[in-house]
């Protein structure tokens, strides 16, 4: 009789080492992930903490006064709102129709490949080059001068590629059988798109559009030379305060405001700078939450 029956399923030395390595890698990649996220969360908390003395409803609703040393950020806030609104009015229809074209009409040929390449490249053009383009094309060539419309057009061109891509993806998730059924009822291509494809992908499209709102609101470089200005006299109350800028007016914007008060202007209270930054981050988080909520809603509602 042999001394000890060996267990054939016992862990060998090598397997044990393998498991150790596996756990180690799992933990270290987890640490790397958190190393990216924790500092940013800490920074956001720090920003809000520093901004706390300034944050109030008045800070949001008052206009900047006395060279930005008093008042609030209403002018820049409403300026950013109008910038985003006008740029979306321009970019959303073009982008969505372009997405429809790429998913519903385009065949797999060189033209489509060329368009996809152009979309990728448009997304990769540096934001300051968009600013140069806006200055050369809208401000000087089309003679708009520096104004809200020129800046919105510039931002619209910049946000276009992501709207196109997300629309394309949303449309691609609608099953082909929906379209085939609709065509069999005698509907034309556009009728199918209008009544079947678009309604079934609207949440996906909106998610992409909403994400672009956040991007458009935060961009500074494209509006530097196309219409943003440091301070403009706008009314403090009433209708004039709600719609202070016409399409041909120069305007204040949150991003530009933060850039100027943190680099160029002296004597601006620290809490104002932090307050502006915190409001921007708050807006971005709010917009992103809406988009995430949309995505969850979309997933829960999916019937196919």
């Amino acid at each position: 009789m042999s001394s000890q029956p060996t267990n054939p399923f016992a862990e060998t030395e090598e397997e044990r080492r393998g498991k150790l390595v596996e756990n180690l890698v799992g933990i270290s990649t987890l640490l790397m992930t958190w190393l990216l996220i924790i500092p940013v969360l800490a920074i956001i908390i720090f920003l809000v903490y520093k901004a706390w003395p300034a944050l109030s409803i008045e800070f949001l609703l008052d206009n900047p006064e006395k060279k930005m040393t008093a008042g609030g950020i209403w002018g820049p806030l409403i300026g950013t709102f109008f910038l985003v609104l006008v740029s979306l009015i321009i970019a959303a229809p073009i982008g969505i129709l372009a997405g429809v074209y790429l998913n519903e009409f385009a065949r797999d040929n060189w033209l489509t490949r060329f368009i996809n390449l152009a979309v990728v490249n448009l997304a990769g053009v540096p934001s300051i080059v968009h600013g140069l383009f806006g200055l050369g094309a809208f401000v000087y060539f089309l003679g708009m001068d520096r104004c809200l419309l020129a800046a919105s057009c510039t931002v619209a061109v910049m946000t276009l590629p992501v709207i196109i891509t997300s629309t394309k993806e949303a449309l691609a998730s609608v099953p082909m059988s929906f379209r085939v059924a609709c065509w069999n009822m005698g509907a034309t291509k556009w009728q199918t798109i209008r009544t079947i494809v678009l309604p079934n992908s609207i949440s996906g499209i909106l998610t992409g559009v909403i994400l672009q709102v956040a991007r458009a609101a935060g961009e500074t470089a494209p509006i530097l030379f196309t219409g943003a200005m440091i301070s403009s006299r706008i009314a403090d109350s009433g209708w004039e305060a709600m719609v202070p800028y016409g399409l041909d007016d120069r305007f204040m914007a949150l991003s530009y405001h933060l850039y100027i008060i943190s680099t160029q202007w002296q004597n601006v209270p620290e809490s104002f700078k932090f307050g502006t930054a915190a409001v921007m981050i708050g807006l971005v988080i709010a917009v992103n939450s809406i988009s995430i909520a949309f995505r969850i809603y979309l997933r829960s509602r999916k019937k196919w």
Binding site: G18, V21, L24, G26, T29, M32, T33, L36, L41, L47, L97, A98, V100, L102, E104, A106, F114, I115, L117, A118, V119, V120, N121, L122, G124, V125, P126, S127, I128, V129, H130, G131, L132, F133, L135, G136, Y140, V157, L160, P161, I164, K189, W190, L211, R215, G218, E219, T220, A221, F225, S255, L258, Y259, T263, F274, M280, I281, V284, N288, I292
Partner: protein, 326 residues
């Protein structure tokens, strides 16, 4: 059988005429969709055209001086590419050399990639291979949040938070330098690296993973020896897109680099980048003079950089798809 009353007749023809209008709108809308579909090409070409058009006089020559002593001034392209001196507003002899600016852009981008690529790949591996369920969703949302923070806020963070921290830790007099901008840029470009490389890892078929497991590989061996080689094109594209983001970033580097024209010798030197130069100086340049047109020429250089990088990344990604079909 009663004949159709005039009323129904009328309704019938009304519907017909409505249908006719519909028939007319259909091709109109389809045409509009086609036009919008081509808009991306139109805009890319328009961007190149207008930026190039505004920069052209610098190359072909501008008339300077008064009517009596008018002389045609041309930009010295060799000096433009090789001189480290950027002195645009000199009264005596303005010098337009972008070498120092290019080195500034490259140094900041390279440092940011040294930080962002390992962290981004690690995070992508964790999110795609080790985490599951809720925690994966939460991590993805948080990383998306990183991508959403506006660049001017990143610049502000570098200016008021990282700047004093770097002064304190390293003892340098000013904390606005390559290190500061590199860290900020790394945090900015991480989300795109994570999401693109996670996509690449996800695109590796599960049969590869199963085969690896069946051969007795543990998870790390599977990631390292199976997934990385299989997804290498996608990972490379992720890094390239991160580099593209770094080269094109404007506001954050404008606020964090210290903004002085300088050939850097260490990561604690302040530099200035191509993008920041345009952002800072175009507002003051007079339209039509050499400085103005040269700034547009820098824009052309940036456009070309971005174009080559995106084209390469796109070709690499396409390479995967072709491989996948085989």
């Amino acid at each position: 059988m009663p004949e159709a009353s005039p009323a129904t007749e009328k309704r019938f023809s009304l519907r017909r005429s409505v249908q006719k209008v519909v028939d007319f709108t259909e091709p109109a809308i389809v045409g509009l969709i086609h036009l919008c579909g081509w808009s991306a090409i139109i805009f890319v070409m328009a961007i190149f055209f207008f930026v190039f058009k505004e920069s052209l006089p610098a190359i072909t020559g501008i008339e300077e001086g008064d009517a009596v002593h008018a002389e045609v001034v041309k930009l010295d392209l060799v000096e433009f590419a090789t001189s480290p001196k950027w002195i645009p507003e000199s009264a005596k002899r303005p010098t337009f050399g972008i070498l120092a600016l290019m080195v500034g852009t490259l140094s900041v981008t390279v440092l940011s990639m040294l930080i962002a690529v390992p962290l981004g790949l690690g995070a992508a591996v964790y999110v795609s291979e080790f985490s599951k369920g809720k925690s994966r969703e939460i991590l993805k949302v948080l990383i998306e949040l990183l991508a959403a923070i506006p660049s001017v806020v990143w610049g502000f963070i570098g200016l008021v938070i990282l700047n004093p921290m770097i002064v304190e830790v390293t003892g340098e007099p000013v904390g606005l330098n390559i290190l500061n901008a590199g860290i900020v840029l790394a945090l900015m470009s991480v989300p795109i690296i994570v999401s693109v490389s996670e996509d690449a890892l996800r695109a590796v078929p599960d049969s590869y993973r199963e085969a690896g497991m069946a051969l007795g590989a543990n998870r790390w061996e599977m990631v390292y020896k199976v997934l990385f080689p299989a997804a290498k094109h996608g990972l490379l594209a992720a890094v390239l897109l991160g580099i593209g983001r770094g080269i094109g970033e404007t506001m954050a580097v404008l606020m964090c680099t210290g903004h002085s024209v300088n050939m850097p010798t260490s990561i604690f030197d302040p530099v200035r980048t191509l993008t920041a130069t345009i952002a800072a100086e175009l507002g003051e340049a007079v339209r039509g003079d050499m400085h103005y047109h040269t700034l547009f020429l820098i824009g052309v250089v940036l456009f070309a950089f971005a174009f080559v990088i995106n084209l390469t990344a796109d070709l690499i990604v396409k390479g995967i798809k072709v491989q996948g079909n085989e």
